[in-house]
């Protein structure tokens, strides 16, 4: 048996959450998804296997969803009547060479995807540069197990443009991205957020605290730049310095600290000052550099 048409579906599935009245073929130039299938059976079948396809072709919850193919591509009557073909009938193809402006194309998606992670799409970094949703997502088939991504993984998808950040995962000091334990969306929401750099949490440190709650404090003794941003010292995308530090120790610390009693030219002649450079360098003594709750921990040594 063939899949139910949108017009049939509501009646056949009384457990639908809401009553649905999809447009009839006569409405505003719509022809119905079954007509589309007549010529685009391969695409139709692939789409029907997706979560969105099941929803729109079989179990629509709203009139919009019930429009099936035309819910996104626009009314197909003119396209059909002119015999079909690429670009015929003014349909939105979402292809790279689609003449439909990007914001119009994206508006099709955001009509439904307008809450949760998508609430702040308008005005976001990607939206404001006219990045099409279809740069990252392939809607018509289950190309990836989740999220219908355009590339095999989230990292590859983001890496299309963010090559530097993608390659940073190869560095000797990195979070477990290339091992598949994290991905870009572990920290970022590419659809827009209220935070900087499209971070999922409201501010940078809160993003880090999601996994590193031990750094959250508040501590008795506070290292002020730590409180302001973890990224003052760390590059979370990966680094060639241990602990994803932005600059090699001890120079990183010395960019802010010229304390007395701490020799700064410590390699080669002065053996006693090796301890300021070798191993964990400054952290050989200042172990609790993220903050200390010890009454005598003002220098983060306790």
């Amino acid at each position: 048996p063939s899949p139910p048409t949108p017009a049939q579906t509501p009646a056949q599935t009384p457990a639908q959450p809401s009553a649905v009245t999809p447009p009839s073929p006569a409405d505003a130039g719509y022809v119905g998804s079954e007509t589309c299938k007549g010529c685009h059976e391969d695409q139709w079948n692939k789409f029907a296997a997706t979560k969105m396809g099941r929803l729109m072709l079989q179990h629509p919850r709203s009139a919009k969803e019930g429009m099936g193919c035309e819910g996104c591509h626009g009314p197909g009557k003119e396209h059909v009547e002119k015999g079909g073909g690429k670009g015929v009938g003014g349909m939105i193809t979402f292809a790279r060479n689609d003449k439909t402006p990007v914001d119009k194309r994206n508006q099709v998606c955001t009509t439904c995807h307008n809450k949760g992670q998508h609430l702040f799409w308008k005005g976001s970094a990607h939206e404001s540069r006219d990045v099409p949703c279809t740069s990252c997502h392939v809607v018509m088939e289950n190309f990836t197990p989740k999220h219908n991504l355009a590339r095999a993984t989230v990292i590859d998808t983001c890496g299309q443009c963010h090559v530097k950040q993608k390659d940073q995962q190869l560095r000797s000091s990195h979070m477990p991205l290339r091992e598949g334990k994290m991905t870009c969306t572990s920290c970022h929401n590419p659809h827009g957020t209220i935070s900087v750099s499209l971070l999922k949490e409201p501010w940078p440190n809160a993003t880090c605290f999601a996994c590193h709650a031990d750094k959250r404090g508040p501590f008795l003794w506070v290292h002020a730049p730590v409180n302001e941003s973890c990224s003052n010292c760390h590059d979370p995308h990966g680094s060639n310095h241990e602990r994803m530090l932005k600059v090699a120790k001890p120079r990183l610390c010395q960019q802010c600290h010229i304390e007395s009693r701490h020799p700064t030219s410590p390699y080669g002649r002065d053996v006693s000052s090796q301890k300021f450079v070798l191993g964990r360098a400054c952290l050989n003594c200042h172990v609790n550099i993220h903050g200390s709750n010890h009454p005598s921990g003002f220098a983060f040594t306790r």
Binding site: A152, S172, P176, F209, A213, P225, N227, N284, N293, H294
Partner: protein
């Protein structure tokens, strides 16, 4: 496949269509890195040889697609196993469960004489051996951490425009990290030890979203609780056991009477966070949309303080704690407002305005301690623990104009202000910026994005004594030894930034895309006599994706990055009277440069349709770090010893290199059965003078663990069998 219900080739189970896939195999090493070289190799992975169940995917779905359940698991039984399960009714509800394990091996080279007699209690022989004996200490198996994360959640969509989500997550961490403990100051008599990790984080989230055509609103609450089973770590002093006996390798002061024979350091306290969020988006006339959001979070911490010291030789009424705990309270308020409008009908001009405020208020008690004990060794004067509050505001205005069909120009200005309380050096700073961005699509197969952004940070005043003023109570000598008045900390210093980014996307064919990228950033710290002077970073990269025929997919990328910075500092000796010497000729300059090249390649090809696939992926990364030190003027103003200390020394370069190749052939016997053989190669090489030659004992009164990441090479072969059922 299609959604044909009950088709003849469907595998049915209890009215559900069943499908899935399982793959198991065996892995063996041609060359396995020895235990001492495995740290980087198995940093986040369990790479045991032998049998493995690589993955199992199981899917049950009603023929009409309405109800479904999915189970996915990978690397079953290994320390890095992961499972996902979800069940739900299409478009109405979904329950999801996740279990993920992440090992983190830090080091496998540590040598250590101490024994852990209780959790977080590290003891040495009661008669401390000469420090050189630490060099022949037994090896530790590994310094590693295991993180296990569990998540259960529910998403309800009672109507398409209402969504309710709730989840509970627990993160458990067990293991050790490298740590150390000082028994003197500055920088002498320290011992590399372990930080015991037994930490649990509980997160509970609930959120509601309502979306109408003209407005959307959502609210959320998150409760997070962090519990640490270890509040402290104790370690024996390798130089002193309580009896005044000279320990070879230690300075006399290290084993003087009254020195600590055991020290105690605090570990992260329990804490909790409550976070409330609210957001509203409204579509207004004139094609205008506003988004507004707020977040209020409350961080709380009230763990009982440890005593100043556990050294019984140090007693003083000044060490009576003024209160038992911090009463730690930090309030975060974050407000956001965004308006986007295209108000002028057919004029293709989009205006965007954004404002954001983050008010970080640390309302914890500000405690003055009448005295404190430096590293369990020296009784010192009063210290005051300041609270660090700040407000950060950002405002952006930009207009985007569609110049003509294929080109859009964005012009914008922005402003960032930091208001910090009096404890930081700069109470107020303003950073003004501008932005010009051009997006051009001159032809179907080319997209160009270019962004130029200058910013200028200016401050009202820089108080280099701000930190000391609040922290060092009644101790003017120590205050004088604080920061140089010439220093400007880089995060607060006046600076000019110029940055350019460019992205080109060539798509000459439907299935070919080539995306070169370029980035350049120049930072000039214009008023920093000492401190960071300049930073320059540039990178080029290219992403390549090509599917010449259906059977072949090639993706590749290359990037080159060079980050340089120049800093100027000063050697400042302290005399026996406590005076700090400030000689101009004791200045030194450090030019720091990191150069990194990265390359990746992935090829998937079907050699025989429906029969034989070949996959190969490779990556290569090389990083070179240089720190070149010099003195602008030859140091002559001090004593011979001081001059020598102030003389900049050359530092060798450090570098690391990683290369990986993985390749697999998969043969499909039938639609259901397939087998693969694979080969994997990894090699890692590094040179870092700061750790390569590290012995536990290297010089006076310091004992490391000699923990280091070593070079490795691994060759792995294996075979697997996969069975796929259903559709």
């Amino acid at each position: 496949g299609t959604a044909r219900a009950g088709a003849a080739d469907d595998l049915m189970l209890g009215g559900f269509r069943l499908s899935g896939e399982v793959e198991a195999g065996v892995r063996e090493y041609i060359e396995r890195p020895p235990e001492s070289r495995r740290a980087k190799f198995q940093e986040y992975e369990d790479m045991r040889p032998g049998f493995f169940l690589n993955y199992l995917r199981l899917s049950l779905q009603k023929p009409d697609g309405m109800y479904g359940m999915d189970l996915y698991g990978t690397r079953w039984g290994f320390d890095d196993q992961r499972y996902e399960f979800n069940v739900g009714r299409l478009g109405l509800w979904e329950m999801f469960v996740e279990w993920d394990q992440i090992p983190h091996v830090y080091y496998t080279t540590a040598r250590w004489l101490a024994t852990e007699t209780g959790r977080g209690i590290f003891t040495l022989p009661s008669v401390r051996p000469p420090l050189a004996v630490h060099n022949s200490a037994p090896s530790l198996d590994e310094i590693a951490l295991q993180t296990n994360r569990g998540l259960i959640g529910l998403k309800l969509t009672p109507t398409p425009d209402v969504e309710v989500t709730t989840s509970y997550q627990v993160i458990r961490r067990d293991g050790n990290r490298d740590f150390s403990m000082a028994f003197g100051s500055p920088g002498n008599n320290f011992y590399g030890i372990l930080e015991p990790i037994d930490q649990t984080t509980h997160d509970f989230r609930v959120g509601v979203a309502i979306a109408r055509e003209q407005w959307q609103a959502q609210f959320g609450y998150t409760f997070s609780y962090f519990a640490n089973a270890n509040r402290w770590v104790r370690a024996d002093n390798p130089c002193f056991s309580g009896t005044v006996v000279a320990t070879p390798g230690c300075a006399a002061n290290d084993f003087a009477a009254g020195s600590p024979f055991t020290g105690q350091t605090s570990l992260p306290p329990n804490n909790m966070a409550n976070t409330f969020t609210g957001a509203l988006g409204v579509n207004l006339p004139l094609r205008t949309r506003i988004n507004t959001a707020f977040t209020y979070s409350l961080y709380l911490q009230n763990d009982t303080f440890l005593p100043h010291t556990i050294n019984p030789a140090i007693t003083s009424p000044d060490l009576v704690l003024p209160q038992r705990s911090l009463n730690g309270i930090v309030q975060n308020f974050i407000g956001n407002f965004t308006a986007v409008s295209r108000p002028f009908g057919s004029l293709p001009l989009t205006l965007t305005a954004k404002y954001r405020i983050h008010d970080f208020q640390d309302n914890s008690d500000q405690i003055t301690f009448p005295g404190f004990v430096l590293n369990d060794k020296t009784l010192e004067g009063a210290r005051r623990a300041g609270r660090w509050s700040w407000i950060r505001q950002n405002a952006d205005l930009e207009g985007r104009y569609q110049l003509f069909a294929p080109a859009a120009l964005t012009i914008g200005v922005d402003w960032q202000r930091w208001d910090r309380n009096e404890h930081r050096e700069v109470p107020v700073s303003d950073e003004f910026g501008a932005k010009a961005a051009l997006d051009v699509t001159p032809v179907d197969w080319l997209l160009a994005r270019l962004t130029y952004r200058p910013t200028f940070l200016r401050i009202e005043r820089y108080n280099s004594a701000a930190h000391a003023e609040h922290a060092v109570a009644e101790d003017p000598v120590t205050a004088l030894q604080g920061q140089s008045v010439l220093l400007r900390k880089f995060d607060e210093a006046e600076r000019n930034i110029q940055s350019v980014t460019a992205l080109l996307q060539f798509t000459p064919l439907d299935r070919l895309s080539i995306s070169p990228t370029f980035g350049y950033r120049w930072v000039d710290y214009i008023a920093s006599s000492l401190g960071l002077q300049q930073e320059q970073a540039w990178n080029v990269g290219v992403d390549f994706a090509w599917t010449p025929v259906d059977r072949v997919t090639i993706t590749a990328s290359y990037s080159h990055e060079r980050d340089t910075s120049k800093m100027r500092s000063r050697s400042r000796p302290v005399t026996g009277t406590g005076a700090t010497l400030d000689f101009v000729d004791f200045d030194w300059v450090s030019n720091i440069a990191d150069t990194i090249d990265s390359f990746t390649l992935n090829v998937r090809t079907t050699l025989i349709p429906s029969k034989l696939d070949w996959i190969v992926s490779a990556s290569y990364q090389y990083a070179l770090g240089r720190i070149d030190n010099s003195n602008p003027i030859i140091p002559k103003s001090g004593t011979a010893a001081q001059n020598l200390t102030a003389t900049a020394q050359p530092w060798p370069a450090f570098e690391d290199e990683l290369a990986t190749i993985e390749t697999a052939l998969r043969y499909y016997f039938t639609r259901s059965w397939s087998a693969s053989v694979f080969y994997s190669f990894q090699t890692f090489r590094k040179q870092d003078w700061r750790t390569d030659t590290l012995n536990p004992f290297m010089g006076p009164d310091a004992v490391w663990m000699a923990n280091d990441s070593r070079n490795y090479t691994a060759h792995i072969i294996g075979a697997s069998l996969a069975y796929r059922f259903g559709r």
